[in-house]
Symmetry: C2
Subunit: 417 residues, 2 copies
């Protein structure tokens, strides 16, 4: 008997390895917004934010190939490219954030951010939302709302209720900003009472893993005031919203109008090449570098820096932030025109879109719809409480033509259920 791909994967990678879809797709080729499977079927990629400037963008591929042929070492030697990149990237940030540690994954960057908050404050208490994910290291996974780890969840972690569009904290969208801040204040008081003290709040400024709830500019102002008053740091996880994805701004926190102390970036940074970074103000960086020894062998190597540079070049030269904003407005209008009794909310921010379903079994309804869309050649997924919200988060080169293809397919898939 021939071993199936599923069986071979289980034999070599073990059980419970996460895949997308009931029958994982077997992708062999990518270009721009398109992916092809082993049978030659073409899929419109409505999901992969990592391939930010489009799958296999030739300028990124060329940058990687060229630098890999010349030099690939590490930051214990001097090299200009990592410095050029940090200078260019931090120039897009305000609030005095001018320094970086380069890592290989967003998880590593967030693991560092937690320790920066500890180094600045001398405390270990940390807060995140109760429906989030910030990475997979032992320390950072304590902030995820999954199974409790062996030995129990770390007592220095508090998870506060995440904002919600349909069931807002405090009972209304107007009350939600203060209600969120009040919960943070209560968590701080608990951490202080238990002797951990308070080091910081880590959050994604578009609450991408929380289902992209609608939050207006200024939403976090009461929370930031609470955190600052308690001497904590705002650790802003820009792994998903950064690099122009929110359309209106280059960074998610800019769109809400608050000043983070630490910013972490990853996934789209080099279009899939493994690189990420933890960016900070000099005083936070100095406190960290004083308290902890840290070196990352692969982090900030010349090839990674070249790939990162190429992504910034493409974002600028192809005007992807503005293009994303235009596509966003167009696709959001088309999604709002979709008609189905299950649709309870349509929302979007830049190249993030949520289509939320309601009623009994809304999660199953969304799951079936996702599978139908895959069969129709459209890759997307679902998120949020109960998994009842379609999550659409395409590469930034997704344009009006692709928006029409997606909206037409969604309408057709909804029409038959």
């Amino acid at each position: 008997m021939t071993e199936t791909l599923d069986q071979r994967r289980a034999r070599l990678m073990g059980p419970n390895v996460p895949t997308f879809y009931r029958h994982p797709v077997h992708i062999v080729r990518g270009q721009g917004v398109w992916l092809w499977d082993a049978a030659g079927k073409r899929y419109l990629d409505c999901y992969n934010n990592v391939a930010h400037v489009g799958h296999c963008h030739p300028r990124v591929v060329q940058a990687i190939a060229a630098q890999a042929a010349v030099l690939n070492t590490h930051t214990r030697y001097h090299h200009d490219l990592i410095l050029d990149y940090i200078e260019r990237l931090t120039a897009t940030l305000g609030h005095g954030i001018s320094q970086a540690i380069m890592t290989c994954t967003g998880s590593e960057a967030n693991d560092l951010a937690l320790r920066m908050a500890q180094a600045v404050t001398g405390k270990t208490g940390i807060i995140a939302t109760d429906n989030t994910y910030h990475g997979n290291t032992a320390a950072v996974s304590q902030l995820s709302t999954r199974r409790p780890p062996i030995g129990g969840r770390a007592p220095n972690v508090r998870l506060v209720p995440s904002p919600d569009t349909l069931a807002p904290l405090g009972g209304s969208l107007e009350s939600q900003p203060q209600a969120f801040a009040d919960n943070v204040a209560q968590a701080i008081a608990e951490l202080q009472a238990e002797g951990f003290g308070f080091s910081g709040l880590m959050l994604c400024p578009v609450f991408a893993n929380e289902g992209l709830p609608s939050v207006a500019p200024g939403f976090l102002d009461p929370t930031v005031a609470v955190v600052k008053a308690a001497g904590g740091l705002i650790l802003c996880d820009e792994v998903q919203p950064g690099f122009g994805r929110v359309g209106s701004h280059f960074w998610g926190h800019e769109s809400l109008g608050f000043a983070p102390d630490v910013v972490t970036v990853g996934k789209p940074m080099a279009n899939g090449h493994p690189v990420a970074a933890c960016l900070a103000r000099p005083e936070a960086m100095a406190a960290f570098r004083e308290a902890f020894g840290y070196f990352n062998t692969f982090g900030g190597n010349p090839v990674s820096a070249a790939a990162c540079m190429a992504v910034l070049d493409v974002i600028e030269d192809e005007g992807l932030q503005a293009r994303g904003a235009a596509t966003s407005a167009y696709l959001l209008n088309r999604m709002r025109a979709l008609r189905h009794g299950r649709i309870v909310n349509v929302r979007g921010k830049g190249m993030f879109f949520g289509l939320e379903f309601g009623g009994e079994g809304a999660g199953d309804f969304a799951a079936d719809l996702v599978e139908d869309m895959v069969a129709r050649g459209f890759l997307l997924n679902r998120i949020g409480r109960g998994g009842a919200t379609l999550k659409i988060r395409p590469p930034m080169v997704f344009g009006r033509a692709e928006a029409d293809l997606l909206a037409d397919a969604l309408q057709a898939a909804l029409a038959v259920r």
Copy 2:
């Protein structure tokens, strides 16, 4: 005034960023065993194990470039290449280790290994040596002998005295294996008494960070017996010794003749491309996958897998393990012929070499010698207690001609001090 490179680096990366040498070299190009700085000066690379098959090996560069142009996604889709690679890599391992989780750094792999031991045993107590380094995540850096972290060192960690060539545990090289095991047994008893229980022992099988002490085959047998009797796992950090570097065997643990439960790999795996892995027996993998959710966006992407494959191809096709063994024997003989009153020990294992100095100020003597060698165009460094041991760990393509260049330069540098 023009900003120097040191100043620019401090401005963009912060203070205390580790560099090699009193005046960091500014490397701009690499090929094989050679590196060039910005002034055109050529250096023989006697240190960088990451560039395992030689800097910028054309087959690795080509593999990366070719796959990056075709597809770079993640393991939530099916892809053959990661499976082909895990199958090929695990075929080099015995003891039933047949599965892998691909990550981006050795630190991430060791962070996973710690959780695998927790998942299998349900306990959290962990042991390492007192002069080591296994990575930089918050969890793994608890095993490093650096400044205590904010909030204090985790109470579930015990560091036992590392083996030593000149000051062996128990007073003699013969007593050292049992003395090391006795210390592990005592640490286990302490962890059990304090309620953490015992999950495992993490170690590098050549004790590379401990200064490469001379340990004979069978050295760890008493320790493995102690760990097994207590129900713990042997977590074998092969990030440095793996992939043929020890010469006699493909893996460090093979050369000592013990059976690890988990093996972690990293640095040389793809010649500098950011990839690493945690390899385990199916029962350990299943326990982990049952206890923890884990997905790594970049880990095991097709480009990383292609780079990994190319490195295995080169190791095989160029016979690098056998070549390393031959070069090792030759260079070790030349090093043993070096004459200086400060030399107290010369040792080597495959393409790892240690040249230890004694007497008052031996660390400073070694430091000055390192700087002199850099000035002469040879990159190496120092390690071990007091930093009194020269650490030589070149790419595997380092041959007899390079060994002569190095030995001649060492003799010349020693002759003038």
